[in-house]
Amino acid sequence: MILDIPQWVLLYLPLIYIAVLAAFTGYEVISRVPTLLHTPLMSGSNFIHGAVLAGAMVMLGLAQNLPEQIAGFVAVLLAAANVTGGYAVTDRILEMFDRSKQPQKKKEA
């Protein structure tokens, strides 16, 4: 390496940039959502943080003894529930706002 870039710049700085930019993205994208869609927005973002399932699976894979396996199992169990429940709830709510489906809904009711 020609430049003398410190280790922390290479290791941590990109992560901090990602976090800051993602926070701005989240803020900007959400500030356009109308009150009408606040519930699906919330349960949709609820679903998106279900990405925690990825981390939970890695950790359970790494577990080497019973306490780690228990904690990892609980993490995967909860994350799987978060992600499927979050998706199903959001989809159900958005189905009701779906204009093409609304007339059918009326007949069911």
Binding site: A22, G26, I30, L37, T39, I48, G55, M57, G61, N65
Partner: protein, 469 residues
């Protein structure tokens, strides 16, 4: 196995983009459904590719068992959550959102726990992040659980208070942080004391979540649910840093930002600060001394039907009472009848009406009310002055003109200005006060009539009377 990261990382990037596009699509009801499908696709890719990481780990005595556990956890957790999400009634949606959110927080805490047990400071230089993520995750988990119990009616929706509550809570939080620091300071993990520090850390983290949510009453739930949504997002993002998992970082941070914004919007809709919502046990004390002139004037369904049928313009202001009484179907039926008679019907939706952000919109959409008829507080307020009948269904604090009176606990809260309509009909169970424990001036106004009873019942009778006209 280095090669798997050439597959996983591009997929994570794609997933992150899909998450952002999905949230963007949610700014419009016409594209919102597409959005959740995109996000679902991104999640499927991200999770499926992640399986490569444990799958290529060197063989160990526990690896096989871990895969069995993983399969069981995914199948059981997924199946139960899916079944519950499909079966739950729309009126119970707030507690479902709360519980799934709490589970995400619990998962974040579990991840932190495993990572801390695998190796702590200084071997694992990210372990301080695990402590932070684990703490926030535990708080969100326990707090969401309490919110769920309150919303489900399995514990009181009233604020639960005791003397010195805020001090006790602060001590609990301090102890959680202290045990976390102790755990980091101890080398040699997994033997004797350090593990019990870890347990104490999580116990106090969970306790804090529990105690923090106890004094928060039912009507403040929209703030609390979105706050815990933000906290879970943050916990996931912080765990993502500790695990160097970019999909988790981006998903978590975006949700953290989105949830924080929504929390602020909810608090603003009540003209209260977040700390006031969290720490003041709002609604536990009743206002005294305010005297109101006049009396409440009861009416009957027939009079209401006549008033509605001969009106030109009607605005309906629903609240939590509509959800409790499951009256949204009757509301839709009445709306259809009135519109057939040439009456213009609109809905005024207060941002914090109900128990979660957007609660009323979801219920009315379920009943089949077109979202063109649902209006924000700012859009609908100028219209009340030209409205013949404003119908309040199970709402109280969100229509209380006391918000205009200096010194009232509600002072400054934006309200639906129903009292400006020529006539106001309030559908209400009884003469009780609203959640804030404040007398509602509106009910004593000359132009206001009370229709007592269960909202579904009352509306059924109004519909019967309308049909006879």
């Amino acid at each position: 196995m280095e090669w798997i990261y050439y597959i996983i990382e591009p997929i994570y990037l794609l997933a992150a983009l899909l998450f952002i596009l999905a949230l963007r699509a949610m700014s419009n009801p016409a594209t919102a459904r597409r959005g959740i499908v995109w996000a679902g696709f991104g999640m499927l890719l991200a999770v499926a590719s992640t399986v490569l990481i444990p799958a290529t780990l060197p063989a160990s005595s526990t690896l096989e068992m871990n895969f069995v556990l993983m399969a069981i956890a995914v199948a059981v957790g997924g199946a139960i959550a899916y079944y519950a999400a499909i079966k739950v009634q729309m009126t119970n949606m707030p507690q479902m959102v709360a519980i799934y959110n709490g589970m995400g927080g619990g998962a974040a805490a579990g991840i932190a726990a495993v990572d801390l047990m695998l190796g702590g400071w200084p071997a694992n230089m990210y372990s301080p992040l695990d402590i932070v993520g684990g703490l926030i995750g535990s708080i969100s988990f326990a707090g969401s659980l309490v919110a769920f119990l309150k919303l489900q009616g399995w514990m009181t929706q009233k604020p639960v208070t005791f003397p010195g509550q805020n001090v006790v809570n602060l001590v609990i939080l301090f102890l959680a942080a202290l045990f976390g620091a102790f755990f980091l300071a101890q080398p040699g993990f997994l033997s004797g004391i350090p593990v019990s520090f870890l347990i104490l850390f999580f116990v106090f983290g969970l306790l804090y979540g529990l105690f923090m949510t106890l004094p928060i009453g039912g009507a403040d739930m929209p703030v609390v649910i979105s706050l815990y949504n933000a906290l879970t997002g943050m916990a996931v993002g912080i765990d993502g840093f500790a695990l160097n998992n970019y999909a988790m970082i981006i998903a978590g941070v975006i949700v953290g930002a989105a949830g924080s914004l929504l929390t602020l919007l909810m608090a603003k809709a009540m003209n209260r600060s977040i700390s006031n919502v969290l720490f003041s046990a709002f609604g536990s004390k009743e206002e005294s001394g305010a005297t109101i002139q006049g009396s409440m004037k009861p009416t009957d369904p027939d009079d209401v039907a006549v008033m509605l049928a001969y009106a030109a313009k009607v605005i309906i202001a629903p609240g939590y009472g509509m959800a409790v009484a499951q009256a949204q179907g009757k509301v839709k039926e009445m709306t259809d009848i009135l519109e057939a008679k040439g009456v213009s019907v609109k809905f005024g939706i207060h941002p914090v009406a109900g128990r979660m952000p957007g609660h009323m919109n979801v219920l009315l959409a379920e009943a089949g009310v077109s979202y063109d008829k649902l209006f924000d507080i700012d859009e609908i307020n100028p219209e009340f002055a030209t409205t013949d009948v404003a119908m309040v269904i199970g709402a109280n604090d969100t229509v209380n003109p006391a918000a205009h009176r200096q010194g009232s606990p509600l002072f400054g809260m934006p309200i639906l200005e129903v009292e400006q309509a020529h006539n106001v009909v309030v559908l209400k169970r009884g003469q009780g006060k609203g959640f804030a424990g404040i007398e509602n001036d509106l009910f004593y106004r000359d132009n206001c009539k009370m229709l007592y009873g269960d909202a579904q019942d009352s509306l059924g009778k109004v519909i019967q009377a309308l049909k006879k006209l």
